[in-house]
């Protein structure tokens, strides 16, 4: 009997990857002290950044959806000069290191335009709004890509049929396009939310590391780690991992449900 070496090699590499990822995250739990777990997760140092992260990532996702849904529709349905370039620019935050994106945002909001916004009461530098802005900036392209694919899958002949049945473009969008693309839209928003929840580089550059003010969960983990509070950092990291796991399960559910 001949051995399928291709299959054996693939299974071997697959198993190595699976073990690496699983063991890395499980190792986090090995450092958690049961005796101090309760006191850590009930402390303000833990739940304040957690609540702020949940709030800021949700706000960033909603804001991202507001821009990503129309932008994805434009990229899916229309052709215009420079479209490929525009699309590439919108995906830049995925390709550029988040620290660089954060620095770019910091420079932007330090410019005269940023000063004008600050004069209107809209401040992003070293503020909670800055954390939302940084997460929105980094996470939106993830939603954009997924939502664009879902719009691509809605056949234009269906929208045309609705049009000749008397529907205005707005009614076609709400009665045909959105219901047919909603799974992809939800998946895109969940992906963006997960990315926003874990955002660190751009957030630390724009919102800073001000404890009990603009401190998100990843920033809090980094601060505890850098000050030698390993147990707190590990507990926070494990809780974040659980959150990511829940998001993965929910996303899979939406992607595979009929």
């Amino acid at each position: 009997m001949s051995v399928n070496w291709l299959k054996v090699t693939f299974i071997f590499l697959f198993t190595i990857l699976l073990i690496l990822v699983l063991s890395a995250y499980l190792s986090l739990f090995s450092l958690i002290q049961k005796s101090s777990l309760f006191s850590i997760i009930t402390s303000t140092e833990f739940y304040r950044p957690l609540l702020f992260s949940l709030f800021s990532s949700t706000a960033a996702t909603l804001l991202g959806g507001l821009f990503a849904i129309p932008s994805a529709y434009i990229l899916s349905r229309y052709t215009f000069p420079g479209k490929d370039l525009a699309e590439g620019i919108l995906y830049l935050p995925v390709l550029v290191p988040p620290l660089v994106s954060g620095l770019a945002l910091l420079v932007l909001f330090s410019s005269p335009a940023g000063h004008w916004l600050a004069a209107q009461g809209i401040r992003f530098i070293f503020t909670p709004a800055g954390a939302v802005m940084a997460q929105f900036f980094i996470a939106t392209p993830y939603a954009l890509r997924t939502i664009k694919v879902s719009f691509n899958k809605v056949e234009q002949s269906l929208e045309e049929a609705a049009t000749t049945l008397g529907d205005s473009p707005a009614r076609v969008f709400t009665r045909i396009t959105l219901p047919l693309a909603y799974k992809g839209i939800l998946s895109g928003l969940l992906l963006a939310w997960a990315r926003a929840l874990g955002e660190f580089g751009a957030t630390i550059m724009l919102a800073g590391t001000i404890a009990r003010y603009s401190e998100t969960m990843p920033v809090a983990i980094y601060l505890r780690f850098s000050t030698g509070e390993m147990e707190t950092a590990v507990t926070m990291a494990a809780m974040m991992m659980l959150a990511a796991l829940v998001i993965l399960i929910v996303t899979r559910h939406f992607l595979t449900a009929d």
């Binding site: 049009t163 205005s168 047919l180």
Partner: protein, 211 residues
């Protein structure tokens, strides 16, 4: 009364058509690729002609350089060649799509689904339908909209002879009852449309001639 004088070009394809309908039913024939679908799409407003004009009952749908009425405001419904049933809606929801008050199901609905043999399919979704069933649902949906101008692109595709006869009879009855102008583009079963006097043929070089 529909008047069309347009040109429409794509790379490797050009359509130049002049037609004028004086009766409320017109049969549009021609070889595959002769531009029947393009012509219907231009009339429906889904394609913008390069030059010319389209008018219906003395109102312009399109006039080069100055006017292009959106499809939704033309009261012209196009039943396309491809399956364009809304997959997230049931058969009855598809058929009643353009009816504003769903609670008041019009008598026309019961009459049409019975005549098209759709009464047992009302609660099914389009994914469960055969090609012929889907065509009949699309036709029913177009009829329920009560358009002033009904454009049918190959309505007999996928239907057997008996169903073709039923569809032909229903269309004749419909245009007499509702005074709807019907344009049917087809290259099959033209013999069943003997109630249509006005026949136009798109022939190379893609010019409409009265037949």
């Amino acid at each position: 009364m529909l008047k069309v004088s347009i040109t429409k070009s794509y790379p490797g394809f050009s359509l130049t058509t002049e037609l004028s309908t004086s009766q409320n039913a017109t049969l549009l024939s021609g070889q595959s690729g002769s531009g029947k679908t393009t012509l219907l799409r231009c009339i429906a407003g889904l394609e913008k002609p390069d030059h010319g004009y389209i008018s219906f009952n003395d109102s312009f749908f399109f006039r080069e350089g100055s006017l292009n009425i959106p499809p939704a405001k033309r009261k012209a419904t196009l039943m396309s060649q491809e399956n364009s049933l809304f997959p997230h809606l049931t058969v009855s929801q598809n058929i009643l799509y353009s009816i504003k008050k769903k609670s008041q199901t019009p008598d026309l609905y019961h009459s049409v689904i019975k005549k098209l043999g759709l009464d047992t399919l009302e609660h099914k979704h389009p994914a469960c339908l055969s090609g012929g069933e889907a065509r009949r649902v699309m036709l029913a949906r177009s009829l329920l909209h009560r358009p002033a101008l009904l454009l049918l692109d190959e309505p007999f595709t996928g239907l057997d002879l008996k169903l073709c006869r039923q569809v032909s009879s229903l269309l004749n009855e419909y245009r007499e009852t509702y005074q709807t102008e019907i344009i049917i583009a087809t290259h099959i079963r033209q013999d069943l449309l003997n109630w249509i006097d006005n026949r136009l043929c798109l022939i190379p070089p893609k010019r409409a001639l009265a037949g």
